[in-house]
Amino acid sequence: MRWIWIDKFLEFESGRRAVALKNVSLAEDHLHDHFPGFPIMPECLMIEAMAQTAGILVGQANDFREKVVLAKIGKAVFFDFVRPGDSLRIEAQISSIAPEAAGTTGHILRDGQRIAEVDLMFSHVDRNLAGKTFPEENFVFTGLFASLLRDVVLDATASPAESG
């Protein structure tokens, strides 16, 4: 994981569900281009917020042994604009998990109002794409995000490799 797009976890139930917080700030560069004079958060970045929340949830379920990559966006529906100053509550839950992959469902709320519904699938890449090899080190879960989990999951910080 090369960048972090969520601010912190509010709740984390290992292997089940996670809730993350994302504060949207006008200090984010892209809001000045999207769009000039009318800053709204790009929907793809709402999917990214869900992918990080749900992806870390899936990764932690296997103690970060798997390289968890986003494989499929099953559903992404948006109900309102998100503007600078908004606080987003990103709720994700694991709907299915197997050795090769996991499915998650989730929604994004602002002040209790439903902003988006996003269902994702993640692949554990070493167990798919037979024959292709990937680097030994877990390039998905670097130490970068460990601090996110420090307060919500005991001993979670011990597992991810220190790099990134």
Partner: protein, 131 residues
Amino acid sequence: MTMSRDEIFQKVQEVLVDALGADDDEVTADATLMGDLGAESIDFLDIVFRLEKAFEIKVPREELFPAESLLNNPDLVNNGKLTEQGVAELRASVPHTDLTEFEKDPDINKLANLFTVNAIVNYIDGKINAA
């Protein structure tokens, strides 16, 4: 729990419409998952997950879509075609799939055509109605 084939087909159809973004009328019994409905590898897992939920059963991926594991074995594949042993193993691993056409020319590229909507219905039928 017993279900008629029509009921099973209807549920399988719903699963495939949701998983592949296909239209109801595209998901016919003879439609192939990859060729006709555009399924990719991750979709097979998605389908497995959704079938498990819809029918409340466990679906081991290699049981429903076993061909992937055969393809990596040099005893079973030669020159882009399944060997006699390969065909035998395939037949044993997919009792719910009709292989008559495929056996005439067991080209591995045609394996994709074996994954039809009907094969899934047969599999589910065997799973929930056989017991």
